[in-house]
Amino acid sequence: MTTLKVNGQTHTLDVAPNRTLADVLRNELGLIGVRVSCSEGECGSCTVLVDGEPVTSCMMLVDQGEQHELQTIEGLGTSDDLHPIQQAFVEQQGFQCAFCTPGFVMSAKAFLAENPNPTREETAFAMSGNICRCGAYPYIVDAVMNAAEKLRARDGADRRAAD
């Protein structure tokens, strides 16, 4: 039995240990926002957060997900209550086909947690672990910069509210 904590919920699953985390998230838990493209850790479309760190889930065996807090795109906003990063991707249209988008959003989340006030260069560099074959890169950078602003405003407001 494998126990996974995903998006705050705990699941106990009877799955073969040779399955990848990406496969189990998609096919056992129905989290299809975990997109799988290259299956070899190159494209980043399957990026999920493991204790806040971005990881390509196609390269992890399911058991390696145990004892960690996992977050997928489904753990962020919903369509009527988007997370600020998702909102920024919508506003800047940081995608075309969007197959890469959940991966970029998760990478951006981890990046902005580390560096809440990045330069465009830092952002472009940080977003280079993911591939967007449609070539939305300049607008992905716009989206992440805009998300950073949104998050700073939100966190500033939170802090002010707490004071």
Binding site: C38, A124, F125, R133, A136
Partner: protein, 782 residues
């Protein structure tokens, strides 16, 4: 036919795409995400040889494996030929002959993918290995191994005008070229899957496809069953660029589902996507151009080879460069399509324009250098302007016979409203070159041919400019239609068969319908993938979507609107002339008086017919009531792009420092969508220019880098994030609200711009892809 009024309320707005929140929340379902009840999983047996015939196949062990539902071989197929759009595939679904390593030979359906894979290994096959040929020049020879019943080489596609001997005489300077292009891979993000399910003698096929109608035609041809028994449900695609039209694995899925007597899903691995479906052609241009000392091109003579691999069947790679550089006084262009024992090649975004077009750009640049002209000025001088003749009319052959013959059947009276056929209707490179050069600071940044503006140790920085053109859809395979329904509540449903390849066509088509009807965008919904509800269309290919499908969407909406206004005039406006009525924000009112007291919402008009017991319908259905003029004969899109590069002459490394893309696609229906298309194209082109190429095994022709680790793609930090996009103000007389096509000219312009910039930085022309090794070699290093 023209629309003078450019005061749009929905068109031109950068509204968020309709499916944006599904996209950013990960809720959007691509074909790989779909499951149906009790479905089996399919796997394909692939040919291990470059060319071989099955002499014996024994499936008994595979069939005996627990969990296997059925095995499909060539012995089970009807043996009919089918064709994908634009001859991207032509042949049988399975015929017991493998024409490249990885070709489809048989398939298994089982309870799980693992068992299907095991069963594939249990199929016993004996092959007679046949002689093979990989090189297209070899394949043309009389004694070459024959890959297809039709022979290896297609009749050439030839376009000719004037007399090249005259052009030669008039030329004061000439340049020759012999350029070879490696093959770019679509390298799709997202892979693909197909699910087929039969109910009695009817089948439904779900897959990610840009061409639902043409896929249904393909299933019909391959199976020999009526079109009415086939329903294609095209789902959103990951990045596609022409890869996911109608593909053989989709039709295998249909046949396998029949054999297995249950729904079957075949999901391709990333390697299968890159090594067994298709790729851009390997191409070779030999050519010669000449001009006078003042830079007038007199001669353009090109002979171009394209390798179609096993199943491609093209002879006419776009080459709209022929029209773009159409001011050349005398021209001869020939394209030869040749089959080889390599992976099938097909149309990838900007087909022909990224290769033959890039060759023409390079040779033109070399001429401009010889006569001492600026590349911007040289292009403005020699590229086509509105109203000028299109050279494609002088084609000797094409896929459906001579273009002139095709046009001959058209009724004369229809032509009255049309732009002059075989003449460019609108747009050109002139405005975008001028505005782009200004905004980029071209005059200051370009230091002359082969001259960097900065030298910093081994680093050379320079700028380059390139142009690209493409059609706005082609009609040779049929006319495009759309259906628009006005529901009783006043909402609109558009049905048009363009699929969803991600560029945002659901949104832009909806904007066209909303504008045409006079309702807000949220009153419009759209179905683009279901062939049971959408009338036939080519789909999203050949930059067809906005121009031809958009035309149909607008025409269908106008037809529905006409009916609506007739009812309103009769029932609510005392028999007024319907032409005196208008619709604003879903409310019918006398023309020019949106605030009149006599105004009725669309719902009320619909209510009038619903409450009429003698009425024939409760909703209104519109469809185009006149044919669309043949777009091939007058509509083109244009791109002009400016780039700054830095080349390290010691390592051969190329960096892109700055980028500006100016685009002429007529009216911009949605600037957010269009800028993504333009920059997306530019990045894909830049990738082809500096890295991307497939590596074929010398012995077997198998693809050695069918994965994203070994096939390199540009990433965010590899392309200038401050890239700018500009749009022209041109307005097309036929396209919806003045819009034209967009997706393919940008990739071609980018390739030419990067190549020229590298030349300006280093003083040498490097063949694509300009990998570090090639740059160093071209500079005389080892």
């Amino acid at each position: 036919m023209g629309y003078e009024d450019r005061n749009f309320s929905v068109v031109g707005k950068g509204v968020h795409v309709k499916d944006a929140s599904e996209k950013v929340t990960g809720a959007l379902k691509y074909a790989v995400d779909l499951k149906v009840q009790n479905m089996a999983y399919g796997k394909i047996l692939r040919c291990p040889h470059p060319h071989a015939r099955i002499t014996r196949i024994d499936t008994s062990k595979a069939e005996a494996l627990a969990g296997v539902y059925g095995v499909l071989t060539h012995l089970d197929t009807p043996g009919l030929d089918w064709e994908a759009a634009w001859f991207n595939y032509r042949g049988k679904v399975l015929d017991g002959i493998g024409r490249f390593v990885g070709d489809d030979m048989a398939a298994v359906a089982a309870v799980s993918e693992e068992i299907a894979e095991q069963a594939v290994r249990l199929i016993e096959v004996e092959y007679e290995v046949l002689p093979h040929v990989f090189d297209m020049e070899e394949a043309r020879k009389m004694d070459a191994p024959q890959i297809r019943d039709e022979g290896n080489e297609r009749d050439p596609y030839i376009v000719e005008w004037g007399d090249v001997a005259e052009g030669e005489k008039d030329a004061e300077v000439t340049v020759d070229c012999d350029i070879f292009y490696e093959s770019q891979q679509y390298a799709p993000l997202g892979r693909n899957a197909a699910i087929a399910e039969w109910m009695g003698d009817k089948v439904t096929l779900w897959t990610s496809s840009q061409t639902p109608s043409e896929l249904r035609d393909g299933v019909h041809e391959a199976l020999g069953i009526p079109l009415s028994k086939i329903r294609v449900m095209a789902l959103p695609c990951g990045s596609s660029f022409g890869q996911w039209w109608s593909n053989n694995f989709m039709i295998i899925t249909v046949l396998l589902a029949k054999k297995a007597r249950r729904a079957v899903k075949i999901e391709l691995t990333n390697e299968e996507c890159m090594a067994t479906v298709k790729r851009r052609h390997l191409e070779r241009t030999r050519g010669r151009m000449g001009c006078t000392k003042d830079g007038q091109i007199t001669l353009a003579q090109f002979d171009h080879l394209i390798d179609n691999g096993g199943y491609g069947f093209k002879d006419d790679v776009g080459f709209f460069c022929v029209d773009m550089w159409g001011r050349a006084r005398h021209g001869h262009y020939a394209v030869h399509g040749i089959n080889t024992n390599l992976l099938t090649a097909g149309c990838m975004r900007g087909v022909g324009d990224c290769t033959l077009g890039a060759s023409v750009e390079r040779v033109a640049d070399q001429l401009a250098e010889k006569v001492g002209m600026d590349p911007v000025d040289f292009r403005i001088k020699n590229q086509i302007k509105p109203g000028e003749e299109l050279r494609m009319q002088h084609s000797k052959h094409n896929m459906k016979g001579n273009i002139k013959e095709y046009i001959d059947g058209i009724r004369e009276d229809l032509k009255e409203d049309w732009p002059e056929l075989f003449h460019l209707s609108s747009g050109s490179t002139e405005d975008i070159l001028t505005m782009g050069a200004d905004a980029f600071g071209w005059k200051e940044r370009w230091k002359g041919w082969g001259k960097p503006h900065t030298v910093d140790g081994p680093l050379r920085r320079a700028v380059g400019v390139g142009t690209g053109a493409h059609v706005c859809g082609v009609e040779f395979e049929g006319s495009t239609s759309a259906v628009v329904r006005i529901n009783p509540d006043g909402s609109l449903k558009v049905h048009c068969s363009v699929g969803r390849q991600g560029q945002g066509s659901e949104t832009t088509q909806s904007q066209v319908a909303a504008e045409a009807m006079g309702v807000s965008l949220d009153m419009v919904e759209i179905e683009t993938g279901d062939t049971d509800s959408c009338p036939w269309s080519h789909g999203s290919l050949a930059s067809n979507t906005m121009y031809r499908v958009g035309w149909a969407t607008r025409a269908a909406t106008m037809d529905a609107r006409r009916q609506l206004l007739e009812i309103a005039a009769r029932e609510l406006f005392d028999g007024a002339d319907p032409a005196e009525l208008d619709i604003t924000d879903g409310v019918v009112h006398p023309k020019g008086q949106p605030d009149s007291n006599r105004r009725f919402p669309i719902t009320q008009v619909l209510h009038e017919i619903r409450s009429d017991t003698l009425g024939q319908t409760s909703s209104i259905t519109g469809r185009p009531s006149v044919p669309m003029p043949p777009a091939t004969t007058f509509a083109r899109q244009f791109a002009a792009q400016f780039v700054e590069v830095e080349v390290d002459i010691e390592t051969g490394q190329i960096k892109l420092l700055d980028f500006l893309a100016a685009q002429d696609s007529g009216t911009v229906v949605n600037p957010q969508v269009l800028k993504n298309q333009v920059i997306g194209g530019a990045i894909c082109g830049a990738g082809f220019a500096i890295y991307e190429h497939l590596v074929f095994d010398e012995e077997t022709g198998a693809i050695k880098n069918a994965n994203l680790l070994d096939y390199k793609l540009l990433r965010a930090a590899d392309f200038p994030h401050q890239a700018k996009v500009m749009f022209s103000e041109s307005y097309d007389p036929v396209g919806p609200f003045g819009a034209r096509g967009a997706g393919e000219s940008p990739i071609a312009a980018s390739i030419a711009a990067v190549a020229q910039a590298v030349y300006n930085a280093t003083g040498v022309w490097v063949d694509l892809p300009m990998t570090p090794e090639r740059v160093v070699r071209a500079l005389g290093g080892v």
